[in-house]
Symmetry: C2
């Protein structure tokens, strides 16, 4: 990052997947660079259509204003978008063919490099620098959103037969993705503070290659407002986990879409940074962190643009992977973020104001949700929940042992020492919620699938099948429906436990 005396990264090239080692940079692009050796070269080389034939003259985005006179942009915006009578101040992010703008339209709409347009790269770099100040020689690579970023990192680091560590409950779509190319998961126990460092240490200490296979060399984790549990790692745990990853030579994929949505019971501050947990990136002296950022939760998911921050080495491999798969991201999103952070857009100050205001908004929703939860659900005595310090999820624990049909003696010795009927009971509860008109996500679908060979190592104590007595709920949805939803949940629980 500019302006920092960068700590040189360790040589971590042995973490590359077989595929990444075999992937060759695009010869066209290499040749292309070669041809820039003289000024005023005439080119008959590319296959680009001529920019005068792009049928577009301007792109305009009308967005919420974060100007000085708008103190709390999100609440004004929310009211305006929910009612047709009120309005909130707006401003424009634009790119034009004929007017000077931060990215000229004709450049943005042409083919570009796998890392993204330099202007857009600089824009996201300014965010990373502001919030994380990584100590090393880190570089940003644009992605097509969080899923694209994380799955590309799985490709970059994972070869068939590899083991990746993950929070034992993880977002299913992501842990599902690398299974088909032969990656196995090693789930690490989490408690209400998130991933338990001692468990990570125990697994690495007790790992035997002859029994369990190749040692895990990647940890995939969501440090703030974890999906699905809503947990946030404390500073102490983050430091401890980083140390362990250093000790056992583990790469960290830090997937942090809820970073900006960390709640605190303090007043809005002019500088957000002291409210936000230090990221793994911020402590990455080794160059072992690959941080994935997303605009989906703080702007809009349909934007499909995000970025990865990594050491220069992994950046170069990511660019090669981009060049040989999706290519660079779309111009529309690159224009949006570049204009957003430019002097004619929100700038960093406006972005920070928006996310501060958004944080307050979600915190308000969280508190309303939990208030209804206490009254309608917790009061039944059949369920409880922790107050999430970040993100969008409340992870509801169902007190399943109180169920009259609960059994814990259903043995299935092949797989694990103890086996209860918790999964079956939770399935019943899920069905009863659906029948009553309520959609919640059953905990069971978030169980990171452990490989057979590591099951015994991973599962000390109560196996995870017997701990799936959770429901993932969100306070990000329709505000007016929170109470009716939780009323249904309370009623369903009562019927479920009492009948």
């Amino acid at each position: 990052m500019p302006g920092v005396t960068a700590i040189p990264a360790l040589d971590l090239s042995h973490h590359l997947s077989l595929e990444a080692r075999q992937r060759r940079p695009n010869a066209m692009k290499m040749l292309w660079r070669l041809t820039k050796r003289k000024p005023n070269m005439i080119s008959l080389g590319t296959g680009d259509p001529h920019y005068s034939l792009y049928p577009i003259k301007a792109v305009h985005y009308e967005v919420a204003s974060t100007a000085e006179d708008v103190e709390d942009p999100v609440s004004a915006w929310r009211e305006a978008s929910s009612s047709s009578s009120s309005s909130a101040p707006t401003q424009w992010f634009s790119s034009s063919r004929d007017e000077p703008t931060s990215i000229p339209l004709k450049t943005a709409m042409a083919y570009s490099a796998g890392a993204g347009l330099p202007e857009a790269q600089r824009a996201v770099t300014s965010l990373t620098q502001h919030y994380h100040s990584p100590p090393g020689d880190h570089v940003c690579t644009l992605t097509l959103g969080n899923m694209d970023g994380v799955t590309k990192l799985f490709r970059l680091l994972g070869s068939p037969g590899d083991h990746f560590l993950a929070d034992e409950f993880s977002f299913n779509a992501l842990t599902n993705a690398p299974l088909s190319h032969g990656i196995s998961w090693v789930p690490v126990k989490i408690d209400k503070g998130g991933l338990v460092p001692e468990e990570l240490e125990r697994i690495m200490e007790e790992w035997e290659e002859s029994v369990h296979g190749k040692r895990p060399h990647v940890l995939y984790t969501v440090p703030s407002g974890q999906n699905p549990t809503g947990c946030t790692l404390s500073v102490e745990r983050r430091k401890r986990i980083y140390e362990l990853c250093h000790r056992y030579d583990i790469m960290i994929i830090e997937d942090d879409p809820y970073y900006s949505l960390q709640y605190a019971d303090e007043e809005l501050s002019e500088d957000s940074r002291h409210l936000l947990m230090p990221s793994f990136l911020s402590m990455d002296v080794d160059g072992r962190v690959l941080r994935v950022d997303s605009f989906s939760k703080i702007m809009m998911p349909g934007m499909r643009l995000g970025w990865i921050t990594s050491s220069q080495f992994f950046h170069e491999h990511l660019v090669t992977l981009n060049d040989s798969s999706t290519q660079h991201p779309h111009a529309f999103g690159q224009i949006f973020v570049t204009e957003m952070l430019s002097s004619s857009g929100w700038q960093l100050e406006g972005f920070d104001k928006w996310t501060r205001s958004l944080r307050r908004e979600y915190q308000r929703r969280r508190d309303i949700f939990l208030e209804h939860f206490e009254k309608e659900v917790a009061s039944t005595g059949y369920a409880s929940a922790e107050r999430p310090q970040a993100g969008m999820f409340v992870w509801i624990k169902v007190h399943i042992r109180q169920h009259p049909r609960y059994r814990c003696d259903v043995r299935d010795t092949l797989k694990s020492p103890m086996r209860s009927n918790v999964p079956e009971l939770m399935d019943e509860l899920f069905e009863q919620c659906l029948d009553a008109g309520l959609v919640v996500m059953p905990g069971s679908i978030f169980v990171a699938p452990a490989s057979e060979s590591t099951l015994k190592l991973v599962e000390r104590g109560v196996p995870i099948q017997d701990r799936v007595n959770f429901l993932r709920t969100t306070f990000a949805g329709e505000e007016a429906l929170m109470q009716p939803a939780l009323v249904i949940l309370g009623q369903v629980l009562k019927e479920f436990f009492q009948k």
Copy 2:
């Protein structure tokens, strides 16, 4: 496709890659569908931010008008974009939070399905239906542009150890991409009419699994204005190739970005279709064609949106692949194409008018280019070129055997029966072009890399290393620079051959 009595596709499921067979659909999405079973469900299930918090009110694209009074939209547009004094009529494609539009902004900006938004899918389906009328039960899947589409198909069909057939000269970035996951190429000879069907037949007939490995089951080809050779397959060749693929059970990846840029020496017609070659898709009774379409060459490359048309079976696998890699495409592009083809946009008529006009424009450029080429280059006697019937490329043949230092007795028996110094001479020529300030693409970089085991089978007659005496040039670039570029090329050739 709607409105057609679809021919049911053959069962071609054995063509799926190992990875595709092992890939599991996203459990969240499956569960999600399950929860739609009743109306008025209340959801606490998703992780979507609330749409009232998307900081965007409207997206506007100011584009070239294709209204009735604009007869030849491209030439008016080109003049306006090249000079600041003139202007061309414009119209707007817009999506708004508060006004009714073809895709409501709040839907477009949310998470959606791997196939794309239904509205955008319908838009591209209408194009496919109009131009190709596929006979089978074909479905469109949105992609993030041509490279994303083609490389996803490579993933869908290719397992390590597989062989894919391709034009012997192919776009390097694409043939490069699947090498790292263990796909080998089997280059098929091309002549000035493109891929030679008899060569395809010979290779398949002479293939021995014990010698050459797994039989090729995929043909990757660019049928119109092929990159880099500019060749276009005749109707007869297309039919013959399709028949051969049926006989040998080969899937066809039809990569056709230059489809709309097919030139004819006829007047502009109100209906383009009779000027355009029938695509492989249009004859696909088996469901073995996976057609890749792109807006990059006819709109703008930075758009990064395209689509694949395939049988329902492969569509479903593509959606699963999208869901577990990039996710659905960005809203911005989906809004653009949906609004473009909607009643408030260009509609199909306007799109066809634009592409007809664009065709005329590139044809004009082609003819100017070839005129200068005749005068400045062909006149030297050291090079010649065919007139391309489609696309953007002129594939210049250098008459290398006339070079005083040409030799064809440099034997390298390990690799091939005959070995000349053509590659070395062409490298010299390339360097001399660069030194003179001209960028052209050397033919050698487009050689599809044949695996060792198939080299003897593939290379009958003169091996490809001895036939790399080509330069890829384009007439899509700066018009005013065509002549100076070709003057340089003529001079360099003279020096190269005479010194």
